[in-house]
């Protein structure tokens, strides 16, 4: 069973000629089949955690470890991490001019699976996945994320999640900016992937709204660069009722 282990992770960024530490010792273990929700206020470092694990060059790991089944993730290049089974659904997916969705999906599936998928089954696979997410087939011929609405971008991320079948999926605020219909469709996609039992999910969110559709096994509260509380789904209910205030006020996290 695939396990992602994050131990005492410290991460900083360069900003205005100074170094700012954003993650201040994160510990977390995500196993295949589990769903973890990481909840926290804006600026607490949630997205930094997601991007650091994926290997974004902007972030510098100053100490700590991230391993996937014992393999050192931090030693891997961005593409190696993906091929090892990591997936990051981004909050702001990037536009890529000149590359059609269909070409992109096939190229990444080829990279992840180690061989080009057989054309006939592949076409059917993509078509079915798009239908389930209620995406227009014409979508496949558009350039990646170019001119996509917020909802289309997120659906496209979940489409990739379904096709690439990672071991560990990190969903960075996939719910933000979605209307209720899109939120439901996206959540159904995440639940389908979860139902396979093959994926460990790290769901990063600001709002409790998505947890009406996706039921986490574990809920973690993230504040000031680290996890400050962990519990079961009941923790999300508490956050919905009381907000983050208790965790962001000085003293508690110190």
């Amino acid at each position: 069973m695939a396990t992602l282990e994050i131990r005492d992770l410290h991460v900083s960024v360069e900003a205005d000629n100074s170094t700012k530490e954003i993650l201040k010792g994160v510990d977390l273990t995500v196993k295949q089949g589990e769903t973890h929700a990481i909840m926290g206020p804006n600026g607490s470092g949630k997205s930094t955690l997601a991007y650091s694990i994926a290997g974004h060059p902007k972030y510098t790991i100053t100490s700590g470890t991230v391993t996937l089944d014992g393999e050192d993730v931090l030693e891997m290049s961005v593409d190696e991490r993906a091929r090892a089974g990591m997936f990051l659904a981004m909050q702001y997916p990037v536009e890529v001019p000149g590359v059609s969705v269909s070409n992109f999906l096939r190229t990444s599936a080829t990279a992840i699976r180690g061989e080009a998928p057989k054309l006939r089954t592949w076409v059917k696979e993509v078509k079915t996945a798009m239908e389930t997410l209620q995406m227009d087939p014409a979508f496949a011929e558009r350039n990646v994320n170019e001119g996509f609405s917020g909802g289309e971008k997120k659906r496209h991320e979940i489409l990739q999640l379904e096709l690439l079948k990672p071991k560990i999926a990190i969903l960075d605020e996939t719910d933000s900016g979605l209307d209720v219909d899109a939120l439901r469709q996206v959540s159904e996609g995440v639940n389908r992937v979860h139902a396979s039992g093959e994926v460990g999910t790290l769901l990063i969110t600001h709002y409790t709204r998505i947890l009406r559709y996706i039921k986490p096994d574990f809920v973690h509260v993230f504040a000031k660069g680290k996890i400050v509380a962990s519990g079961g789904p009941e923790l999300a209910d508490e956050l919905e009722a009381e907000g983050y205030e208790k965790y962001t006020k000085g003293g508690v996290t110190a």
Partner: protein, 392 residues
């Protein structure tokens, strides 16, 4: 009616876009078109038609100091039925397709000694392309090339430029009524070459002219395709593809002169740039004269900046003297392939070099497919891959 679309590139790219202000094709020229170099003042670099060109890299082509004496071979391979001649300056077939629009073109016209004339007789439909191999072994040369098609003739001409040269030339394409001509001009020069050339097309009644300009090489390449129509119903399609590397200056200046009613033109140029000092210039002038009712024209320029340090100047310009037209429009945009795009693709398991190839191939694919010549298309895609590999 005209639509301008400009997406400025990221601030770190040093890319810029300028849309022409209130001025006309005629007012922007230093002098009216002329065959005589003496009619053009020596440019100092601030003239509209020279302001993007590094004059110091023209090796004297612009100021009369470049003396011919280089070694340049022009080899024409043509299928049966095609006449290939080398003629004197006095030959009446020279200079019919268009008049030099700048000093270097006029210098070339004033300085060439022999011209090459390729004639396809009327109604001849060639199944094999005519190949013109221009190869330089260094030094300055002035050239003139004529390709003429009789009425209803059909031909494909592939012009290859290789080696090293400082070349100024004019190339005339004369299409008889109903003729169809496709010209592929590939600038695959060594990185030291300087090539300044005007391509004149005179499109006959109901004739179709398709030009595919492909520029990869050279230190400085500046091409000026000019299209004029000799009768109604003419069509011109002008496609261009350039891959500008570090230190290269590649400039394409198009002028489509709709001087005749009911003609069409479609221009699409795309370029990728990478490396320090890579500079691409695209000027798209379309002139719809008062007499040219029923004109249908569109022009497009797209640039993809792959690295920091590259610069694009793209200036589409549409000048309309009659409202009685079918359509007229233009679009220009420059985008950049940046670290975030690279990260996004790599985060899906795609290797860095594959990601770059994906983006550039995708960018050019639509244009390449319009060429309609499979062997040329394959060669181009292979060349694009090679350019990309050389870059990293």
């Amino acid at each position: 009616m005209a639509e301008a679309q400009n997406i400025p590139v990221g601030s770190t790219t040093a890319g810029t876009i300028a849309v022409a202000a209130e001025s006309t094709v005629a007012t922007r020229m230093s002098a009216p078109p002329s065959f005589d170099v003496a009619d053009f003042p020596v440019p100092h670099g601030r003239e509209e038609e020279w302001r993007f060109t590094p004059l110091e890299r023209l090796r004297g082509l612009h100021d009369g100091t470049a003396e011919a004496g280089g070694v340049l071979t022009v080899e024409v391979t043509a299928p049966e039925g095609v006449t290939v001649e080398t003629v004197d300056r006095s030959d009446a077939r020279i200079g019919r397709a268009g008049t030099p629009v700048d000093r270097v073109a006029a210098q070339a016209y004033s300085s060439f000694e022999k011209a090459s004339v390729v004639s396809v007789p009327k109604e001849a439909v060639l199944t094999e392309p005519i190949r013109i191999a221009v190869h330089g072994e260094g030094g300055t040369a002035y050239g003139h090339q004529v390709v003429e098609l009789g009425a209803f003739a059909e031909a494909v001409v592939v012009i290859d430029h290789t080696g090293d040269a400082v070349l100024a030339a004019n190339v005339d394409f004369v299409l008889g009524d109903g003729a169809k001509l496709t010209v592929v001009s590939v600038q695959d020069w060594d990185d030291t070459a300087v090539h300044v050339s005007q391509h004149n097309a005179l499109v006959g009644r109901d004739a179709s002219f398709k030009s595919v300009v492909v520029t990869f090489g050279g230190d400085l390449v500046r091409l000026s395709p000019l299209v004029q129509y000799a009768g109604t119903g003419g069509e011109a399609e002008l496609f261009g593809l350039y891959f500008t590397d570090a230190g290269q200056h590649q400039e394409h200046r198009l002028l489509v002169d709709h001087n005749t009613p009911h003609c069409k033109s479609n221009v699409a140029y795309k370029g990728a740039l990478q490396g320090d000092g890579a500079h691409a210039v695209w000027i798209g002038d379309v002139l719809i004269q008062a007499a040219a009712e029923g004109t249908d024209t569109y022009e497009l320029n797209r640039n993809l900046v792959l690295t920091d340090g590259a610069r694009v100047d793209s200036v589409p310009n549409l000048e309309i003297e009659t409202g009685e037209i079918v359509g007229a429009g233009h679009a220009s945009a420059t985008g950049r392939f940046d670290d975030e795009q690279l990260f996004y693709l790599m985060s899906r398991g795609i290797r860095a070099e594959e990601a770059r190839r994906l983006v550039v191939r995708g960018f050019f694919a639509e244009l390449v497919q319009q060429i309609g010549l499979p062997d040329v298309e394959e060669r181009l895609l292979a060349k694009i891959d090679a350019e990309l590999e050389a870059s990293v």
